[in-house]
Every structure is written in structure tokens, then in C-alpha cells.
Amino acid sequence: MSMSAEELLTNAGSLRRGNPVYMSNVLLTKPQLETKLSEGAKVLQTDDAALLFEDEECLLRLSFWARDEASLGEALRRIKRHGKAVITDVVGRDPSAEELADAVARCGFALYSKFVRMTCRHPKIAAPTDVTVCRAKPGEEHAIIEMLQGEFDPLFSHIPRESEIADAVREGEIGVVRDDRKMAGLAYFERTSEVCRVLRYLLVDTAYRGRHYGAALLADGFGTMSPKTICTLWIGTYNRTQTLYERIGFQRDGTVDYIMKLKGGH
């Protein structure tokens, strides 16, 4: 269905007004929504709900606005999955995020993974003296994406496109450790503003673990930060590395991401 961003937001507003059981997992500005629609996102509209789908390589990423659980459930039954997993994120602060995730689960989704956000002002870690970290070079984009795809679950990792990696390489945001000229590990610190960095990915190839490459990559990235810099990262609650970040000084800031997967069909 062809629908403008303004129509979609206006409809969402009317579903929401005076309705305590309104459900949505997304807060998009009109320009953000326009961008998604221009990039090919599809809308499924019913009388009481709207679903927005972004078609990614192996999944459909879903945003929704619905009058209530029954309306969402009814709209979800009309989805054509084309063999893909349907993933929706519920981001926010508990307890409201958890309540929405529970409601989404009652509509046919299952909790697939849960991430928490951690932040630290000017983090520091001792750099191993015998490991050299270099900037990733133009031409290595494909190898970087292959490494990320080999390590992270595509259903929740938002693996960047090659153009995004190329920008990050150009900006010097990706540090790499090479071992015998092979890329053994990488850290991607995205600079989101003058004082903010996001540790998007930290990865050491399994064949090279135990050599302090991870610590070297972190120390290199942290070393570029000023005392005012706030570093943020998202980490799965299942991930044991969380305790490492806590030792460095990162703390959970209360924002969580429930990654929900529609049951059946995939």
C-alpha cells in the first residue's frame, strides 16, 4: 500500500488518542519515516493497525502501531513472510518496555534476545604492549563484513552495508589487529557526535583469542577519547563479556532492547 509518512503518523495519532491500550514499538519522526518509505519499506494498513516492514537480507524488520493487542494480532495474520523471519524490537526502559514486550508476545512473538545499553565516561583499559592496532584500510570493507557476518547473528546485529563500512574506514573508526597479515580482530567505534562514541562491534577471530587482541582494540579506541567523551555499547544479556565492561567502568543505563521474533513460518 502506498501511504505517505504524514498519513501514517496521523492515523497512528488517531489510534492512540484517548486509548490506554494503544501499542507501538516505534517513535519515528516524519523525516525518518519518509526516508524509510523512500528506501522501500512497505506498509500494511488495517482499520485498527499499521505495520511497516523493512525488507533486509534474511529478515523482515517490523514496526507497528495498533489500537490494541487484538488489532495487532489480526494485522500480523495478514503478513506475507516470503520465508523470512519477522523481527520486531521493543526498546525503552523497564517496566514499560517489558510490559510492551509481554503484550507483543501475546500477539504471537517470542523473545529472541535481550540487549542492555551500557555507558561509560572516558573509559580506559591497559593496553597490551606487544599488540599493534592499525586503522582498517580502503579495500578491506568486504573482509570486515564477512568477519561480522561470521560472528554475529544477523537477526539482531544490524550488520552494516558495505557503504557504511566504507564511510567508517574513511573516518578511521575501525581499528584492526593483524596476525600474519590476516585480519584477526576489529573494533568499530562509531563517532555519533563530538562527545559520543558507540562501540558498534568488537570481535576477535576464534583462532586468535587469548592473545589480548580484544584489550588492545579497546585500548586503541578508548585512547582516542577525551575526558568528556561518553562511550556507549549494547550487549546481549547472555554475553559474558558484560562483566569485562563493568570492570572497565561501564554501567547499565536502564535502556533495554527486547528482540522479538514472530513464531512459526521460518
Binding site: G13, V26, V91, G92, T192, D253
Partner: protein, 76 residues
């Protein structure tokens, strides 16, 4: 205004909001924080913020946030 400052502090205590002239541009509030902040404002002021009011410029400063709250029927 103090209530808005308190909510911002609760949301991202690591930032000194006096140092920024544009919270969204300076990265103090990302898209995830906006979701939480809108929910917090709605709960605290008993209002519903119109989706079309949710643009980054509305969350640039304490004053612009207060303006959004007022526009949607809240008393600041």
C-alpha cells in the same frame, strides 16, 4: 522546567545538559532516548504528544521540550 531537567537527568545522567545547545545534535539524546523521554513526559504531565511534534528540533533544549509539553496541553 525543573521537572524536565530532572527527567533528562534520570534518562542520561552522564551528560551535563548545560553544556549543550542541541541535545539531539550533540548526541545526548538518541532515537532510543526519545522513545523513553516522550513516554516519561506523557506520564509526568498527563498528556499525549502528537507524533508530528516529534522532530529532533523539538528536543534540542529544555525550552523546546517545554514548548512541546505546552503545545500538547501540559503545564510547565
Amino acid at each position: 522546567m525543573k521537572r524536565i531537567c530532572d527527567l533528562l537527568q534520570e534518562l542520561r545522567p552522564e551528560f551535563d545538559y548545560r553544556e549543550s545547545k542541541d541535545f539531539a545534535r550533540d548526541g545526548y539524546l538518541d532515537s532510543f532516548d526519545l522513545i523513553s523521554l516522550v513516554t516519561m513526559l506523557e506520564e509526568n504531565y498527563g498528556i499525549l504528544i502528537d507524533a508530528l511534534d516529534i522532530v529532533p528540533s523539538s528536543f534540542a533544549s529544555v525550552e523546546t521540550i517545554a514548548e512541546v509539553v505546552r503545545k500538547n496541553g501540559g503545564k510547565v
